[in-house]
Structures are given as C-alpha cells and as structure tokens.
C-alpha cells in the first residue's frame, strides 16, 4: 500500500524522484538544493575570488568602450613599440596602438567566443549524449563512432583545416570551435543517461504513458545538469586558449579586431625589439583561463561532492 503510494508520487512529482540530486522543477526542495550548492561553493575561497574576476571581465566585455582609454584599432606609427609610460601603462604595439585598449577590446572577443562556442558545443553534445544513451542500439553505435572520430582529431588540426576551407571570420571561429569540442558532453551525458534509463521511476513514467520527449526532459535531463554545468564552465577556459592559439597561428580572429591570440602573433614578429608587447595578452589569457578553471573546480565540488579530488 505505502510502496504503491510512493511509486505513484514518484511518477507524478518528478522533483522528488532524483534521489535528492534532482535539480529541476519548482518547489521547496529544489530551492534548498541550490542553496546547499551555493553554501558548498562559498567554502572554496579561490573559486569566489575567481568568480569575482570573471564578473569584472564580463562587465568589461559588455561595455568595452567605457574602459578603453584610446582607440584600439587606429594605428599611430610614429610611436610604434613605445615602452610602458604613465599614459600608456602597457605601452604601444608594433604599429603604435595602445596595448591596454586592445587588451580591453580583446576581453570582449575572448569572452564572446568562450561563451557562445561553449553554448553551441553544450547544445550539440548534450543532445547527442541524450539520444545516444537513451535509445541505445544502432543509433548509439553510429553516434559513438562519430564521437570517436571527433576525439581522434587533434582539435587544432581540425580547426585549422575548417578555418582554411571556410575562410576565417569572427562568427566562423565561434561556430567552428563550438561544433568541434562537444565530445566530452556527449560521453558524460551518454554514460549518465544509461545509468538512469533503467531506474524504476523512469519505468513508472513510461507505464503512465509519458512520451520519450517528456521522460527525457523531466526525468533524465535533470540528472545530467550538474556535470554539464561543470564541464561547461571548465570548457570556457579551454575554448579561450583554443581561440587564442588559433588566432595566434592566423586562423582565428582576423586583424584589425584585437584578440589576445593575434596580439601575441604581432608580439612574436617583434619579440626581439619590443618584448613588452608579449606580456599583457599572455597574462590575461592565463588569469582568465585560471579563473574559469577555479570556478569549475568549485562547482564540481559543490554539485557533486563524490567527484572531489
């Protein structure tokens, strides 16, 4: 009697079905789960500092114009390679542009690529993982081989070939990176879905006539939200490095748009004469990637205490 009642509750009230890990739906339990997560996250001090840093970067990226002391694009050849001064704290680059202003504009580029490519790869990867894990069989076998093929590419090789073929541009860079880095989501989500697929509450939902779409959306997806958030945060950092590397090699963001990567490419050409051009972009890449990684680590500890290392 009581067990049947419990089963019925499980089927009709999905927010109680995820064995206390469910992150979906409205209601009291759900809110306390997020509060608990936040409390755990707060304990990791480097993560809080990093989150603050990312917040500042986001503000800069949204309205770079306010912060740029000079025009980041207009060359000023008379003062090329000027060393840092009070007016130009990072100095001028190889054609006389203010490096600080270019770093600020580059922040917008880096974050835009980082966030939008992450969203694209997240959407593709989660969809592939869900379909693969939920339906299994032939669909899974075919999709898994595609994931294998994607993972067999050194990602930079694939990106360079795609950029060369399609012609490098800003949004092309965003899309191409997004479409090539989703394999981690697919693998993690697939494995999670497979372990959830045969749980009693999923059977119960099916017995009650829920469609596949509904089962996936209400019962399966909530279980993978935590890992996906963590992978997504960590991947913003690695995508920022990837974009910088691609732009450094000349296949990403094209001049005159400043990207930390193509600034380093300019720096490389003039490394003998103007080494100061090379310092700021690298430090910014390092700090930004570090910040996203620290927040990702903090979120992993907060969302899934079992994964702690």
């Amino acid at each position: 009697m009581s067990s049947r009642e419990a089963q019925a509750r499980t089927a009709t009230a999905p927010e109680t079905s995820g064995e206390g890990e469910s992150l979906t739906g409205a209601g009291r339990e759900h809110r306390t789960e997020w509060q608990r997560t936040w409390r755990r996250f707060k304990k990791f001090k480097p993560g809080i500092v990093a989150a603050g840093f990312i917040l500042i970067l986001c503000i800069i990226a949204l309205v770079p114009g306010i912060f740029e002391p000079y025009d980041p694009i207009q060359p000023f050849p008379a003062l090329r390679g000027e060393s840092p001064t009070l007016e130009h704290p990072f100095g001028r680059d190889d054609i006389g542009r203010d490096i600080l202003s270019r770093i600020i504009r580059g922040t917008r580029v880096a974050l835009t690529v980082g966030v939008f490519s992450t969203l694209i790869s997240l959407a593709v990867g989660v969809t592939v993982g869900l379909v693969s894990g939920y339906f299994g069989g032939l669909i899974d076998a075919v999709l898994s081989r595609f994931v294998d093929a994607l993972m067999a590419f050194p990602i930079l090789v694939l990106l360079i070939v795609l950029a060369a073929v399609l012609g490098p541009s800003f949004w092309m860079t965003v899309v191409v990176i997004g479409l090539t880095v989703w394999s981690t989501y697919a693998r993690v989500v697939r494995a999670d879905v497979m372990s959830v697929r045969n749980r009693d509450y999923v059977f119960a939902a099916r017995a009650l006539g829920a469609t596949n779409t509904r089962i996936i959306a209400r019962h399966v997806l909530p279980n993978v939200v935590g890992p996906v958030i963590v992978i997504g945060t960590l991947s913003v950092g690695s995508i920022i490095i990837l974009e910088a590397a691609l732009s450094f090699l000349g296949f990403g963001i094209q001049r005159p748009t400043p990207s930390w990567g193509n600034m380093l490419a300019d720096a490389r050409t003039h490394i003998q004469t103007f080494p100061h051009i090379a310092y700021p972009p690298g430090i910014m890449i390092f700090l930004t990637v570090l910040a996203f990684n620290l927040v990702g680590d903090g979120l992993r500890d907060a969302l899934d205490p079992r994964q702690r290392d």
Binding site: P46, A149, A152, V157, A164, G237, Q272, P275, A278, G282
Partner: protein
C-alpha cells in the same frame, strides 16, 4: 582479450573511414581549383585543362576520386605536392615526422618523469607545503597558454641571456625550449591526476592490510599503491596524445622547428591540399594507434581487464 583487441581495431578502422571521408569532402569544398594552383599564371587552352583533368582523374565523380585516393593512401602513396612540384607527399611527411616524434616522446617523458613522482609524493604527504605547491602548479599549469610560455622563454633565454637558440634543430640546445613548452600543460594535468588516484588507492583496505602484515612503507607504496594508482594515468596519457599533437603545431611554429606541425601550417598557408590531407590522416592514425596501445597496456597492468 583477443576479441577485445579485434573489436577495438575494427572500431579504429571505422573511425579512420569516417575521418578520411570527412577530410576528403572538406578538401573538395576548399577554395581554389587544383588546376589553378598547378598552372599558376600560365595561359592554357580548354583542351589542355581537359588533359590535366584526365591525367589527375579530376573529371571522374568525387566518390571515385575518394576511393582512388584512399587505396593509394593505404599503399603509402599520399599523392604529390602541388607547391613543391612533383615531390611525393609521403617523402615530405616522413622527412618531417622524425623530429616531431622525437619532440613528442621527449616531452611526454619529461612530463611523466616530473609529474608522476611529484603527484605520488604530494599524495603521501597530503596537506604538506609540497602538496599545496603541487596543487597550485596543477591549477596554474593547465591555464598557461603554451605559445605564450614559448615567447617568454625566447625573451628570457634567447634575447636576454643568450643561452639558448630560438629556432632550428642544430644542437641539443635547440631542443630544450620546445620540449619544455610542449611538456608544460601535461606536467600539470598528470601531477593532479597522479595525486588524486594515489590518494584514492592509499585509503583502500588492501593497503591497510599490507601495512598490517608488516611490510615496509616503501614496499607498500611501490607494490600496492603506485601500481594501482597508475591505471588512470595510463588511460589519460593515451588520451593526451591528440592534445600533444595540437601542441606540436603551436610549438613548431614558435620555434621554427622543422617538423610535421610546421609543414602542416605551411601547407595550409599555400593551399597544398594533398599535404594537408595526408598530415591530417596521419595525425588521426597516430591518435587511434595510441588509444589502442593504451587499451592493450591497460590490460597488461590490470589483470581484471584481461579476464573480461
């Protein structure tokens, strides 16, 4: 084990098939007609174009071209470079392969040699200063863009101190900076992983048992802890091969290192599609072989896998 190996090989072949098909398709979409690249500025008639098309098989449908290319590739004929007229691509690739392989082996050896002992010591002395510094390095090392580290090393060791040459492969000094730069991210990743997996093993009951039966701490560590802690490391080193090859492209570009990464970038700049295609497939082949070897090694280390 054998059937497992056969299954992995079969999967590898399917993956290679997808990859070659995809790469070939991309090259068809690529800008620039191969005939234009070949002919350059010379003025030729339509009949001559037809002749060239026939000679190179460009008049045949794309799927026929694909299978011709694939069967040639399998036989070690990677086509001919359009830019370095007539030079077989296989020759260019093998020529550049040597330095790249050496660079990668040295980098991964350096990374493993530093990171694995450091990770084990950090785990054994958990919460010590050494442990915290390893953890700081593990976080910082993955966030360092290797191309920037390369530039900084050039500024410091080549320009300021004049100790190391910034390009070429003449002497052993040329290898130091490329190897270090390529190893940087890997040391951070492997140190963190080794520490984590050692910590996991160190609290297992069989380790307590080994101690309880009076084995020395050294024997417990080497035979019971380290051997088991190595399992995830083997997997990750295998998976990192693809990342290492990505790094090779960057490192070879910075240090003008005459390897396959630089050849790749040069070929993309010159639209030498035969070379691009050959290198891409070679890279993927490397990764697939590395992954299969990893699985095999895993079976050797872990008896439980062998039984399955």
């Amino acid at each position: 084990m054998l059937s497992f190996l056969i299954q992995r090989l079969f999967q590898g072949i399917i993956v290679l098939f997808i990859v070659t098909f995809f790469t070939f398709g991309l090259m068809q979409l690529a800008p620039g007609d191969p005939i234009d690249v070949m002919v350059g500025e010379a003025i030729i008639t339509d009949e001559q174009i037809e002749l060239i098309q026939q000679k190179w098989g460009l008049d045949r449908p794309w799927y026929e071209q694909y299978f011709t290319w694939l069967s040639n590739f399998v036989q070690g004929d990677f086509g001919r470079s359009v830019v370095r007229t007539g030079v077989p691509v296989s020759e260019m690739v093998t020529e550049a392969m040597g330095p790249t392989l050496k660079l990668n082996v040295m980098a991964i050896s350096l990374a493993m040699g530093l990171a694995i002992p450091a990770g084990i010591i950090a785990a054994v002395k958990q919460f010590s200063i050494f442990d915290s510094s390893i953890m700081v390095w593990a976080s910082a090392g993955v966030a360092l863009p290797n191309f920037w580290v390369g530039l900084m090393l050039i500024v410091f060791f080549s320009n300021q101190l004049g100790w190391l040459p910034s390009y070429g492969t003449g002497s052993w000094k040329n290898w130091i900076m490329p190897v270090v730069v390529l190893a940087i991210n890997e040391t951070a990743i492997l140190a963190r992983l080794t520490r984590g997996s050692t910590l996991e093993v160190i609290n297992q009951e069989y380790v307590t048992t080994a101690r309880a039966k009076g084995l020395s701490e050294r024997v417990v560590l080497v035979r019971h802890v380290v051997r088991n802690a190595m399992l995830p490391i083997v997997t990750v080193v295998g998976l990192r091969v693809a990342f290492l090859l990505s790094g090779t492209i960057v490192v070879e570009t910075i240090f003008a290192f005459p390897g396959i990464g630089r050849l790749f970038i040069q070929s993309v700049d010159r639209l030498d599609y035969q070379v691009i295609q050959a290198i891409t497939v070679m890279f993927v082949l490397f990764v697939i072989v590395a992954n299969i070897l990893t699985d095999l090694l895993y079976g050797v280390i872990d008896p439980r896998i062998r039984v399955k």
